[in-house]
Structures are given as structure tokens and as C-alpha cells.
Symmetry: C2
Subunit: 79 residues, 2 copies
């Protein structure tokens, strides 16, 4: 079973990387950009085939390693 | 209008960051992980409100800056 974890910075947390992207896009002539925020995805290949248990396992992985829950939120999508 | 760009490494391209995540998860006791690949997302806030033109604009941004199309593929989602 495959899972996609999406990790994004929480609202209000400063995102210098997103600001840099926004500035670079404007510098390239894309004036219609009012904001940019960067996040990450982690695609996992799991041995578990039960969706419920897979989701619980991935959630534990997020809490333990994949996301810093102080400043980041995560969402899990099973595919 | 908001757009989410997802950038992932193409199949077959070596992903040391994904390998490191996989190793770390196994080290933490998550033995059911058979593979991990890392990608990134960029959330954009656009002035453009026409979906067709917004998609064309974001596609141009991806080609120019957001993705390295030699080794990465990208997908665009308008929200």
C-alpha cells in the first residue's frame, strides 16, 4: 500500500523559503503572484495492506519523525 | 485563486533524502516501510481568477523556476 504524507508550515509561521520563491517569480516577470509557501511530501511504500492500520502507522511516523508538529501540520493520503 | 504545485523526482532518479528517511524510519522501529521518496509542494496565491489562464501561468512558472524538468515532474492543482 502507498501513502502520501503532505507536510506544510502552520499558518503564521514565517516561511523564508516561500518568500524567496515569491521574490524569484516576481523577478522573472510573474507579477500576479501574491504569496508562496513551501512544504514537502513524502511518498511511502508500506507492507501493511489494511487502510486503517496503515493510516495509524503513518500517523505515528509523522509524529515521531516526518513532521515537526510544533510548527508544521501534516495530512495523510492513502493511494 | 490558489494553486498547489507538487514536484516529485522522476522514476529512476536517485533520491538520497528519501533513502535517509526510509533508514531513519526503520531505525525507529517502523519495519513495514519498503520505500520512501521525498518531493516538495509550493502553494501559490495568484491574482489571476480565470482557471485556464491561472493554470497556464503556473505551468510557465514550473518550467522557468519551480521544477527541474530534467529530473523532476510536476503537477498543478487549482483550489
Amino acid at each position: 500500500m502507498r501513502a502520501r504524507v503532505t507536510v506544510t508550515l502552520k499558518e503564521g509561521v514565517l516561511d523564508p523559503q516561500g518568500k524567496a520563491i515569491e521574490g524569484a517569480l516576481k523577478g522573472l516577470g510573474f507579477g500576479g503572484v501574491n504569496g508562496a509557501r513551501q512544504g514537502k511530501i513524502i511518498d511511502l511504500e508500506l507492507a501493511e495492506s489494511d487502510p486503517e492500520r496503515a493510516r495509524a502507522e503513518v500517523s505515528a511516523m509523522c509524529e515521531a519523525l516526518l513532521a515537526n508538529t510544533v510548527i508544521e501540520s501534516y495530512s495523510i493520503e492513502l493511494v
